[in-house]
């Protein structure tokens, strides 16, 4: 019974997904394929949220800045036409300086707004979006010269709306070939039809291991100590502000890479839109996995990504089949995504109140 109570959020979503899947009329194969793609491309972003949660800073809505850092790096590879898997990994390397800078600034801001990191991060995302547009829309082609005019708006200033990333689309995803011949066992044969993006999944697995191992180091221990009680950690001589900044930097860099993995799968970048929803969607996914503002595990991040995107896949069709309109399903999905964030935050505030008494 307590197990049920503890995991009520994921259970509700499993039920919702099952019902949705039933009414959507999708084939298992299509569903599994789509889900696998989405898991590979989104889980990295969700995992990037774990470190700040454990360092006591709540859900880092500021990963939007990480996504921006990733996109800046992507623009550079497009401008210099760096292609293929080299191009992709170069983008990852190039995103680091941007992400470290953004993360550092975010960390400083969070240290000035202790206890209000979530709302600060959310608003910071909006503010940063303004600066981002300033750079992409005004500075590009004016202060920052771009030789390839095809990337710019007709006026010669500012990036076009959509930049093609064909140069390194599927750079790592294409290593999914996992087609064995001569398999007769029905189940394996069935699985063999799913496209596993093997390299992407390996990278995600490596990241999970790295995060897991990080919490077995001195730094990880400091994260956890600061996350539990800043005052006690400080008395013990831990440099609390520094540890918090490092946590945000880690999160921002991981988010930048996550955004690049996302983009290499999509194959283009909406210059003015790709990053906007990153924070809220990743947060919603993590919460659906059963995490809270102060506790999150890798398992919850992965489970949350699966459930959140399963709902993405089935809800438009289920809405169409039940209500006769795909819009209703869309509406329901958006409603659910933000509703989950709201409920999770309210539950957290309520738990904190009862603890005080």
């Amino acid at each position: 019974m307590r197990l049920l109570q503890k995991n009520i959020v994921p259970i509700v979503f499993i039920v919702l997904c099952t019902i949705g899947f039933h009414y959507s009329g999708l084939s298992w194969m299509f569903f599994a394929n789509d889900l696998m793609t989405r898991l590979a491309r989104n889980s990295f972003l969700v995992i990037s949220l774990i470190i700040p949660v454990l360092a006591g800073m709540g859900l880092n809505f500021g990963i939007v800045l990480g996504a921006m850092a990733g996109q800046f790096a992507a623009f550079i590879t497009v401008v210099y036409n760096l292609t293929g898997i080299t191009g992709f990994f170069l983008a990852c390397v190039l995103s680091i300086p941007f992400a470290v800078l953004f993360g550092w600034l975010t960390g400083i801001l969070f240290n000035k707004a202790k206890g209000k990191e979530m709302i600060t991060g959310l608003i910071l995302g909006f503010f940063a979006n303004g600066l981002y547009q300033l750079v992409c829309l005004i500075f590009i082609g004016w202060i920052i010269p771009i030789s390839n005019k095809a990337l710019l708006l007709p006026s010669g200033i500012g990036f076009v709306n959509t930049l093609d990333l064909k140069i390194w689309q599927y750079a790592i995803d294409k290593f999914y070939v996992f087609k064995l011949k001569g398999i007769t066992t029905p189940l394996l044969k069935y699985l063999n039809n799913i496209n596993f993006p093997v390299l992407t999944l390996i990278i995600v697995a490596l990241l999970c291991t790295a995060v897991y191992l990080l919490f077995r180091t001195k730094l990880g221990q400091d994260f956890r100590a600061v996350g539990q009680n800043r005052h006690i950690a400080e008395v013990a001589g831990i440099k609390v502000d520094r540890v918090r900044i490092i946590a945000v930097i880690f999160s921002t860099v991981l988010a930048a890479w996550g955004q690049l993995i996302f983009l290499q799968n999509i194959g283009n970048v909406q210059v003015y839109g790709s990053h906007v929803q990153v924070g809220t969607f990743a947060v919603a996914a993590l919460l659906i996995g059963g995490a809270s503002v102060s506790k999150a595990t890798i398992g919850q991040a992965l489970l949350g990504t699966v459930l959140f995107h399963a709902l993405f896949i089935v809800s438009p069709l289920a809405g169409k089949n039940i209500m006769g309109s795909a819009q209703v399903g869309e509406y329901f999905r958006v409603f659910v995504a933000y509703g989950v964030i709201g409920i999770a935050l309210a539950l957290h505030a309520w738990q904190r109140l009862t603890k005080k008494e």
Binding site: T217, K218, Q221, D222, A225, Q228, I232, A233, G237, E357
Partner: protein, 533 residues
């Protein structure tokens, strides 16, 4: 003992903004000795410990005078880190443990044993692995030393408080260079059997050559555990003695011993007050953090001034806050024989009770509103006074200003006029505004908490005199809670002493210093049997 003392404090003085809180203390502790510091709240014990521990609060207020020697060497302690390096350990009054960590992780907090990893060669210490087996072994050793036999990998959350205390001590012990351990009221939260275990653990520590500074309000423990006892009162070192040369009631007397002339006491003898109770409190519990009340029975006589005293944290402040509905409470409170609904501030106000809070600037005042509005705010809200008649009722500012002007005169509130913001008033004048607001509710029972905290002497006397005047002229029953025993004894008819959330007993202001000291330390009944309650 030969050679220099482990710790010697010479002529320590400290001023806070011209207010001398420590006046030339000198004492020493030898290796393996226990020295107990006893004194009332505000006697200077915490300031002394802050000096020893190099707390920033000392150095940001101009440092201190005097010298500290550790094993004969002059120690210049400027920060807690330096104190720790010199081998001074401290077990804090409130627990400094992380609940989600295991005992081992807490003992080794920020002193984790690490081993090299691949990345640590580049990024240094933060990337080193934790060496959990080695940490466990260390923790086990410290825990075994003080006889804490539980699993070292248990999470701290859910441990009984007694064990948490021992974990704190184990942590200090784990710092290998520890020479001097400060225990700040370690037994305050312990049951008696746990406290006994702690005293035994202290013996083990002193046996290892560690010196202990022991701060406690439990005088029997002080007698049992110490080699030396230093009594502080008002920042002065009143006595330095040994348990063999003194008795508990002698110490209690020294602790309180503030001379009050009987002429200063205005309290009336019991014969003048009839056994007619305006308020009957039965089994009242209040969940006020830091001032928990655990089942108080108390009767308030009509027309008296009843004092509630006791040491900080024992629950005296919780009583009034609980009855007035500011903190969750439980129990049975009857006013004039009628049960009062608890946990409802409005019900208490509607029953002609008023409250002047100890938290003047937080609960007491609307700091950014005028004096006049502060005075009438509760009356408007609760009784609908100072509003124009009719369906749409707006503030009757004329009546409000008129009344405020009267009150300013009557209570001698020093201000530029009724429209001045209360934020700009001095502490004493703010307190008068709070009292004025309570009075215009026309209560017949007034609770006043810490009415003179942080107020200069002149204003103090004025406020106390006014309370007496209200009591004598208007027949207002007053229940005054205060940490200052002298102030309670000067105006109260009876004084109830609270100890560990329960009523310890009721004394008359004329009773001896010794009785007050014993009662506040919870030792009274061991000396007098049960006849007092």
């Amino acid at each position: 003992m030969t050679g220099a003392a482990r710790l010697e404090m010479k002529n320590i003085s400290k001023q806070y903004y011209g207010n001398r809180v420590l006046k030339g203390l000198s004492f020493s502790v030898n290796k393996g000795e226990v020295l107990s510091l006893v004194g009332e709240n505000g006697a200077g014990k915490s300031t002394l410990m802050n000096i020893l521990f190099g707390m920033p609060v000392i150095h940001s207020t101009g440092g201190f005078d005097g010298e500290i020697f550790l094993d004969g060497e002059k120690a210049n302690i400027k920060s807690p880190e330096e104190a720790m390096k010199l081998g001074i350990g401290m077990v804090h009054q409130e627990f400094m443990l992380l609940p989600g960590f295991t005992i081992t992780e807490n003992i080794k907090l920020n002193r984790e044993i690490t081993k090299d990893s691949l990345l640590s060669k580049i990024f240094g210490k933060p990337m080193k692995w934790l060496d959990l087996p080695a940490m466990k072994a260390d923790a086990r050793q410290s825990m075994d030393t003080i006889g804490l036999g539980i699993d070292e990998m248990l999470p701290v959350r859910g441990l009984p408080v007694g064990h948490m205390q021992f974990v704190e001590i184990a942590r200090e012990l784990d710092k290998k260079n520890i020479r001097l351990l400060v225990l700040d009221e370690p037994t305050a939260v312990l049951t008696e059997s746990d406290a006994d275990k702690l005293l035994e653990a202290m013996k083990i520590l002193t046996g290892k050559g560690i010196s202990i500074l022991f701060i406690s309000h439990r005088l029997d423990e002080v007698m049992a555990a110490s080699d030396k006892i230093v009594v502080l009162r008002d920042g002065e070192q009143i006595a330095e003695t040994r348990p063999s040369e003194t008795t508990i009631d002698r110490i209690a007397e020294l602790m309180v011993g503030r001379k009050i002339e009987s002429g200063e006491m205005v309290g009336r003898p019991p014969s003048e007050l009839k056994d007619d109770y305006i308020l009957e409190i039965r089994d009242l519990s209040v969940a006020m953090p830091g001032e928990r009340v655990k089942g108080v029975n108390l009767d308030v006589k009509r027309g008296e001034i009843l004092g509630i005293g006791g040491l900080a944290g024992q629950g005296k402040i919780g009583i009034a806050n609980g009855i007035m509905g500011l903190f969750p409470s439980d129990g049975d409170v009857k006013k004039n024989g009628k049960t009062i609904k608890l946990n409802a501030a409005r019900a208490s106000l509607d029953n002609a009770m008023a409250f002047v809070s100890e938290d003047r600037r937080g609960t007491g005042l609307l700091l950014d509103d005028s004096i006049e509005f502060n005075i009438v705010a509760t009356a408007i809200q609760v009784q609908g006074k100072f509003l124009t008649p009719g369906k749409v009722r707006i503030l009757d500012s004329q009546a409000m200003t008129g009344l405020a002007t009267n009150m300013i005169q009557e209570l001698d509130i020093r201000c530029t006029g009724p429209g001045q913001l209360t934020r700009r008033l001095s502490g004493g004048n703010q307190q008068k505004v709070c009292i004025a607001r309570a009075i215009i509710l026309e209560p017949n029972l007034l609770f006043v908490s810490e009415p003179t905290r942080g107020i200069d002497i002149g204003a103090k006397k004025l406020i106390l005199d006014h309370l007496v005047k209200l009591n004598r002229d208007n027949g207002l029953t007053i229940v005054m809670t205060s940490s200052e025993l002298a102030e309670l004894r000067s105006i109260c008819d009876r004084i109830a002493i609270v100890y560990q959330g329960k009523l310890e007993g009721i004394l008359l202001p004329t009773d001896s210093d010794r009785d007050f000291g014993l009662m506040m330390a919870g030792e009274y009944h061991k000396f007098h049997g049960k006849e007092a309650v």
